[in-house]
């Protein structure tokens, strides 16, 4: 083993702090060895993905840690669950007793381990999270992408068990995106060919993210020419879409994200390996990619992948004011408990219920069968949902803007906004 260990870590490896910490230490060192890290780096925060039920081994692992009095070394927040603890009726046990019971038990075990039960794939929308320059551990692909790119915290994409092991030890292998030099941009994507009013549309960021993920491969993209952002919703969409379509863990946007004040900053003084110009055709192709269904009658609308933010609720409210979704059409918004409480305190959840929407917390609609009526032709404004749902749920997807989703829900069939699609992008 080439990693230098301090006395405490050496002790943990020899079992001085019990078998759970010994296992955690062995897991972290195995990862360090494969990554060819020379040392471990202290972390300040972990976003835990191993609380997402993937079979009984997940439950056995968490139970093993609890049975051996394992304690977390750093604040650890939980990703989505397969089920919702807040709204158990969303997915009744009768549907799949073993999975629902197992998933619920797993979530309870991680609460007992001391995790903060936020149950969200968008933990960066909650106050008190990690800041610029902090070393952290995350596994959820959109959160890895957002923390690295938008916050400037540093993480690799940690798989299940290793995320927990790092949180128990309080350290991660000092390798990959924890190193400054590994964060240098590789390819430059210029956006001067896209009209400014398009760049102010939220849907632009979903399409851009999907496109960038498809072309970047292992490279770190630098996107030049994005306007200043009033909210982080567009950057969230970009993070999630690029992580879904291409496994992107870090991207930069010049003048917008913290490690890219200028192009020179983003490339750390070097030059891009490739320079590409984004075209309206690229966005049109992304839109076609994300749409598997022809326009037509809708069974459901799904918003909130990653979890809906308070500013997205603020954008949704005027669109639904005084209106009603077509009876029989299911209209779901996925979010976190925290954001739902905030929205409820503004009276928004009650208004959404009058519209006919169901706002669910702790989980996501694309984990089949998380919700009833998840079948047929479904419209979403989320590139990530559109990317995964056809495979995971066997449904057909229409991808559209938030306004298109609401208007389509009222009409009961896909409606296309002529303002968006008559400018060469259709």
């Amino acid at each position: 083993m080439s990693v230098t260990l301090d006395d405490r870590d050496r002790g943990r490896l020899e079992g001085a702090e019990g078998p759970a910490l010994e296992l955690a230490m062995r897991l972290v060192l195995a990862a360090a060895d494969i990554l060819e890290a020379r040392s471990l780096i202290p972390i300040s925060f972990a976003h835990i993905d191993a609380c997402f039920y993937a079979g009984e081994a997940h439950v056995d692992f968490a139970q093993y840690l609890l049975d051996h009095d394992a304690r977390l070394a750093v604040p650890a927040w939980t990703n989505n669950g397969v089920v919702s603890l807040a709204d158990p009726e969303i997915r009744p046990e009768a549907g799949d007793p073993q999975m629902v019971k197992g998933a619920r038990r797993l979530m309870q075990l991680y609460e007992k381990l001391g995790c903060r039960p936020v149950w969200t794939c968008a933990p960066y929308q909650l106050p008190g999270g990690p800041k610029f320059g902090e070393h952290i551990v995350a596994g959820e692909s959109n959160a890895v992408s957002f923390y690295n790119s938008v916050i400037g915290a540093r993480t690799n994409k940690y798989g299940d068990y290793l995320d927990v092991a790092c949180a128990l030890i309080g350290k991660a292998p000092y390798a990959g995106l924890h190193l400054v030099e590994a964060r240098r941009g590789d390819i430059l994507i210029r956006t001067t060919g896209i009209a400014a009013d398009w760049k102010s549309e939220n849907i632009f960021y979903h399409l851009l993210g999907h496109h960038v993920g498809r072309l970047a491969g292992q490279a770190i993209p630098v996107i030049d020419g994005l306007p200043p952002q009033d909210t982080t919703d567009g950057l969230k969409a970009l993070s999630a879409a690029a992580a879904a379509s291409g496994g992107i863990e870090l991207w930069h946007a010049t003048g917008v994200t913290p490690e890219a004040a200028t192009n020179e900053h983003a490339f750390q003084g070097g030059t891009p390996t490739r320079i590409l110009d984004l075209t309206p055709d690229d966005l049109a192709r992304a839109r076609r990619d994300l749409t598997s269904a022809r326009d037509g009658p809708l069974d459901m609308v799904a918003l909130g992948t990653p979890h809906f933010s308070l500013t997205e609720f603020a954008r949704l409210m005027p669109l639904i004011a005084g209106r009603k979704a077509k009876p029989g059409l299911a209209f779901y918004v996925s979010t976190s408990r925290y954001v739902r409480d905030e929205a409820a305190s503004r009276g928004w959840i009650a208004d959404l219920e009058k519209f006919g929407a169901i706002v669910i917390a702790d989980t996501c609609t694309y984990y089949s069968p998380a919700v009833r009526n998840c079948r047929g032709r479904i419209m979403t404004n989320a590139a990530k949902w559109a990317y995964y749902a056809p495979g995971m749920l066997g449904v057909e997807v229409c991808f559209g803007s938030l306004a298109e989703c609401v208007e389509s829900a009222v009409r009961g069939e896909t409606w296309r906004d002529p303002r968006l699609w008559t400018n060469g992008l259709a």
Binding site: A30, H58, G159, L162
Partner: protein
């Protein structure tokens, strides 16, 4: 005899199943029976259980350690996995399962040239020190 890099240590022996495309350890096979279910995989329908599974690389998923550990728990995992590109998730899943269930599934990586040599063997044996050989009985007598 080929010496592999050990990602997770163990001894194993089995029939070789060399995959034509990377397999995800989350969602691409059914852990209840070890059968490949990914409709995009060219070897869909084949069973990975008890095989010396060879693939150049795996398909990444953060949940892959869970898929690996669950297959080992249920006894449907491969006997061993030989990769070219080292993978953390499979190693972590194998280590956790070893601790929880006392069952081993060694995970190894080799260079491209050695991979090509091994992939045409019908059966292989893996030693705890990472040596990979045809099992003794398969050695032709001369």
């Amino acid at each position: 005899m080929i010496s592999a890099r050990i990602l997770h240590k163990g001894a194993a022996e089995g029939e070789v199943l060399a995959l034509a495309a990377p397999l995800s350890f989350w969602g691409a096979f059914d852990p209840r029976n070890g059968v490949i279910i990914d409709i995009h995989h060219p070897q869909r329908g084949q069973c990975i259980s008890g095989k010396v599974l060879m693939m150049r690389e795996t398909r990444g998923s953060g949940t892959a350690p869970g898929g690996m550990a669950e297959a080992i728990r249920l006894g449907t995992a491969p006997a061993a996995i030989i990769l070219i590109r080292p993978d953390i998730n499979l190693a972590i899943g194998a280590m956790v399962a070893q601790q929880l269930y006392g069952r081993s599934c060694p995970v190894l990586s080799v260079n491209t040239e050695d991979y090509e040599t091994l992939a045409v063997a019908s059966t292989l044996a893996i030693a705890p020190d990472g040596r990979i050989t045809p099992p003794p009985r398969a050695v032709p007598r001369g």
